[in-house]
Amino acid sequence: MVFLDFFYALRSAGLKSTLQEWRMLLTCLEKGLHKSTVEGFYHVARACLVKSESDFDTFDLVFADYFEGIEGAIELSPELLDWLANPKPAEELTPEELAALEHLDIEELMKKFQETLAEQEERHDGGSKWVGTGGKSPYGHGGTHPTGIRVGGGPGKRSAMKVYEDRQFSDYRTDVALDTRNVKLALRRLRQLTRTDGPEELDIDGTIDKTCKEAGEIELVFRPKRKNDVRLLLLMDVGGTMDPYFEPVSRLLTALHEERGLRDFQAYYFHNCVYERVYTSGRLLRSESMMTADLLRTYGERWKLMIVGDAAMHPSELNSARGNINFRNETETSGVSWLDRLQRHFDRSVWLNPDRPVEWAMSSTCRQISGMFPMYHLSVNGLEDGVKGLVGARPATIRPIMAPGSSRL
């Protein structure tokens, strides 16, 4: 099983390809669907093993790595490499000649290559059997063989083997930043369907049951429609270190406003950390604000809390009682106490951080806050996970709540 390690390479790169899919691929190869070309093999393998365009790029990388690896795996003598490093230009082939060249399986090809390599003892250019340059043999480089193996050097005649090197699918990766549609897709999961109140619909099964019980006297049964019961409260950090993230954050906000499925949605703003006031606009004016205590009274614990912010600030801004640097302080309550109150008040809450996760540990306040709220990256994957955290199964462990030394209310 020559390619089995290719399968394992895919799996260790994070693709979820299974044995069942691997067997599908083998069946296809047995039936000759790859037409004995590398391009064909690439298409067939991708169709069988990869089930999402977001994984195409990973597949391409592994494919490139694996088949480049073949070059390295064969022992090449320095002389051979030297002949190949100074190639002679290839002669043009007529179509008949091209067709006449034998099309080989990659396994066969590798075997023959190694056999040929073992026999060959001198530099060779322009022939049709030996490893060399400018020839019609399937091995070497700068040649014209349609399914050949390239041995070192840059590509001359572009053969199918190089398709995967373009990485044309890198745009489809899901660990990159958000666009509006991606955000919407992620938010689709923000659903908890319940039958509570609202308009009614005909319950067919109920009607049939009831009618049968009434011996054929038709009896119509109605029940409330299923509808989304998710109410979302969004708190957003604005200004300062959040300015570079204006684009992704505003996309998230637009998508949330357009998300018709939510039962209710409210957004408030803050700067750096939540203190006694939250603001109804990004200008953070006192006239457009609400007391955080009122916020907690207004929105019951069934609201889901989503906080967007980089959680990076001076430790005193989070932990000291007079930490609020930008505004006149009204009460002596630290930011961390407010965050703690929010976290305890709401049944489910998440923190979305636009900074890259590797940077989180660099800020002590970020470390502290990520201990209070489940923190996710503001990317497609992170948002999806965050949304799952809001509506999915409850995480088993409860995180430590208060940081040492912070004042309690």
């Binding site: 669907l33 044309q168 689709r188």
Partner: protein, 296 residues
Amino acid sequence: MSNAAAAESFGQFEGTSGYIASRSLIDAVNCSLALERPLLVKGEPGTGKTLLAHHVAEGLGMEMDSWHIKSTSKAEDGLYVYDTVQRLNDARFGDGNVGDIRSYIRLGPLGRVFSSEKRQVLLIDEIDKADLEFPNDILRELDEMQFTVMETGDEVKAKQRPMVIITSNNEKELPDAFLRRCVFHFIEFPDVDQMRDIVDVHHPQVEKALLEQVLTKFYWLREQKELRKKPSTSELIDWITALLRAGVNPRQLEAELPFMGALLKNEQDTKVISQYLDRDGKLPTSLDELKGPGRR
């Protein structure tokens, strides 16, 4: 060439004159045919996912049945429907053959394709529209290509395993168990050269100078990040139809975008572009001025 001989033993799809298919798409279709597994096709709206099924059927000389999925679709609908309400009604008023349950069983698209004598193509369109559990509910039926009508105990078993083509717009994630059983293909957005071929299929008479302008504007629009919905292939085809009907010449297209409504379907998008044009914003006049995939 034993491989080639093996390839001949089942019908091979090679594209049709009315549908420009990439090599990778053709390979995927043939994999699905050989494995007798469903083909799952994803891609931007308007890249011809639904059309593919029609042309696979045409190319292979098979008949096609389709099942258009709605948010209310249930797996059972595809197999059969037992029309109890009709039967009850008939019973009350003494119509029909109430004693025979079979006359109230109506086969759904899957049931029809299974019971067909010839191998057929079945299109399951926009599977992501349905409930999240829907794909899992039809797993077994797609695997075994058979089901039992509970009310009568009748077995419906595929005489010829149909070629199943499933399209998805990515609105919902499909379950892994379902994906494992499918052959997958993602239709990429066509590049300029492929687009020329596609336009040629629909509008062979369009003159070259006009087409260059049309494609330039089209790929330029697709590069605009402010747009909420990028125009797609089908919209391009509509736009060209409108331009040809109105007899617009390439000159006019250089500085303006007539019939913009055919390309932009969103009020905000139209506004963004109109405002740009009102500010005397420049439109590119050749493909070389573009940065993105439009440019070669």
